[in-house]
Amino acid sequence: MPENVFAPWTDPGAEPLIRFRNVTKRFGDFTAVRDLTLDIYEHEFFALLGPSGCGKTTMMRMLAGFETPSSGHIELAGQNIVPVPPNKRAVNMMFQSYALFPHLNVWDNIAFGLKRDGMPKDALRERVAEMLKLTHLERFARRKPHQISGGQRQRVALARSLAKAPKLLLLDEPMGALDKKLRQETQFELMDIQEKTGTTFVIVTHDQEEAMTVASRVAVMDEGELIQVATPSAIYEAPNCVYVADFIGDVNIIEGAAHRASEKHYTLHWADGQAPLVAASEMTFSPAQKAFLAIRPEKVLVTADRPADAENAIQGRIHDIAYLGNISTYHVEVAGGRLLKAQTANTRRIENRGFTWENRVWLSWDATAGVLLER
């Protein structure tokens, strides 16, 4: 691995900034977080991703100090922070609702935390000016929160939480209230600010695209447990289970019985009278074990004739075409009435497209294009 790549989680000697150690959080009978262990490193942009109720917000609130773990402990820079109240932690949070103080103007909102620390006046003015500049809010310093737009409020919230230069910044669905276009701009702005300040960011989101865009690593959660923690590309290309594959992006899941073909290859019997599929896998499956082949639509090639060198090829009939402008998704009905999705970039004009509804086509992909999963 080249040295300039930022990947402290691959370095066994690296000290994590945050350590969750067997953390469990129960609310009455409900277990929000179950025996969870996780390391987050300095300068990381770490995303907690999952559907609502998966425990991601509880994790964040435990980091901020608003919730106390039922068992286990949380370390920040080597110190157990469980007994430390929120106002004594070097952690700041940007709230989903922004929680801007409505009776204070933008300047006073940003200065609020600094004043609590008793920062000298000159230094405070300088720091607030710096924050206003970072978030392009200089012109709005004297406005009250209700006098600015949603996007501006979001930036005030960010500036306020960054002003104290925390070791760790928590972002709770920071883009939830913004429309799609503004959200994309803001994501890049956020990454930019994270890079400039060098602060460790932990973001909570249910938007997989957002997590993939901003994060150095993504933790996919479900029902209080971590399902997979990896870089966005690893999560996408090598999901460790059907849940992750399905949660992140679009995927075809083909269920079948796996048989070992060679050292690193398995065949998957997926439908009667059909040639088995070939898939490369590092995992070991016992003979005829139930397995799932996860393959992304954009890795499936659609052709009129069977490609001569294809390792996997299935014939089918085009059931539906979703035209999205830059790409088209073909829904192809194959043996057993199963629908598979294949995506192609529309590099040619629409009238030059080779096939249309009800056409018989071939779907093909390499042995390494998909991932064979146990569950």
Partner: protein, 268 residues
């Protein structure tokens, strides 16, 4: 929608029922004659006489003192109670406590008055201004608590969390963030308590002593000797003060409501 005849009639009847007695009282306070039922001409002389009647002025001073002290005390206690009940962690019996704080709202005044009287006698407290203040605080703090807690319920709790997160102690968070935001509700609670205390006759007469006579008590005892135009003038002044208090209280809470509604949406 246009008002139908039916609506107009019922409105007129309703308002006449509510306000006619008061209007008559106000009109006769400007009557020249000493006889309250005979109109002889417009005059403000009863107001002048009122101002030279030392007994009434003393009573007014007592009433004002009681109202200011009791409403201030009630506002502090009522606000803290509302905060504890709305925000506090779930402690056992919390529902019971919230119910209990509102019970004095529906309790007959006679019972409140009597029980306070028994208490004051029991602990050997001399009845006077202090006991009226305590009694008024008791019944008006639940009104304050109702007003303030309805504001706190709609208050975004993450504002307080943000204050803690930025380094505030819980007390600082209350002082610097919660209190300024709920201030209009606290002020209207104070005004409500103030007007309630000005009005009260029953509880005050139970808990008062010879040294402290409030205006309602004074009026009530004066009326027993016959209604004089002076009383009309005094009552008119009280109506004015109370009306003003209620109007200011509702304006404050309305303005705050409008601002909040407005603040909820973005201005692009």
């Amino acid at each position: 929608m246009r008002l139908s005849w039916f609506n107009i009639t019922s409105l007129t009847l309703g308002f006449a029922f509510l306000y006619l007695p008061m209007i008559i009282l106000v009109i006769y306070s400007f009557n020249e004659s000493r006889l309250v039922t005979v109109w002889t001409g417009f005059s403000t002389k009863w107001y002048g006489e009122l101002l030279s009647n030392q007994a009434f002025l003393d009573a007014a001073w007592v009433t004002l003192k009681v109202a200011v002290f009791s409403s201030t005390l009630a506002t502090v206690l009522g606000t803290l109670a509302a905060y504890a009940l709305v925000r506090g962690a779930r402690f056992p019996g919390r529902t019971l406590f919230s119910g209990m704080i509102y019970a004095p709202l529906v309790m007959p005044e006679v019972i409140t008055g009597l029980s306070l009287l028994l208490l004051f006698i029991g602990i050997g407290l001399d009845r006077g201004v202090l006991t009226i203040v305590l009694a008024h605080t008791t019944f008006s703090m639940c009104y304050v608590s109702v007003v303030v807690s309805s504001r706190l319920v709609s208050f975004d709790q993450s504002l307080e969390e943000a204050a803690l997160d930025l380094g505030c102690s819980p007390w600082d968070a209350f002082r610097l963030v919660t209190l300024p935001i709920i201030a209009p509700a606290v002020v209207s609670g104070w005004l409500l308590a103030f007007t309630l205390s000005l009005d009260d006759l029953v509880i005050a007469s139970f808990t008062t002593g010879p040294s402290a006579t409030t205006l309602p008590i004074k009026i009530f005892s004066a009326v027993r000797l016959g209604v004089s135009p002076e009383i009309n003038a005094l009552s008119t002044l009280m109506i004015a003060v109370v009306t003003l208090g209620v109007i200011i209280a509702s304006l404050i809470s309305k303005r705050n409501f409008v601002r909040e509604q407005h603040g909820g949406e973005g201005r692009h």
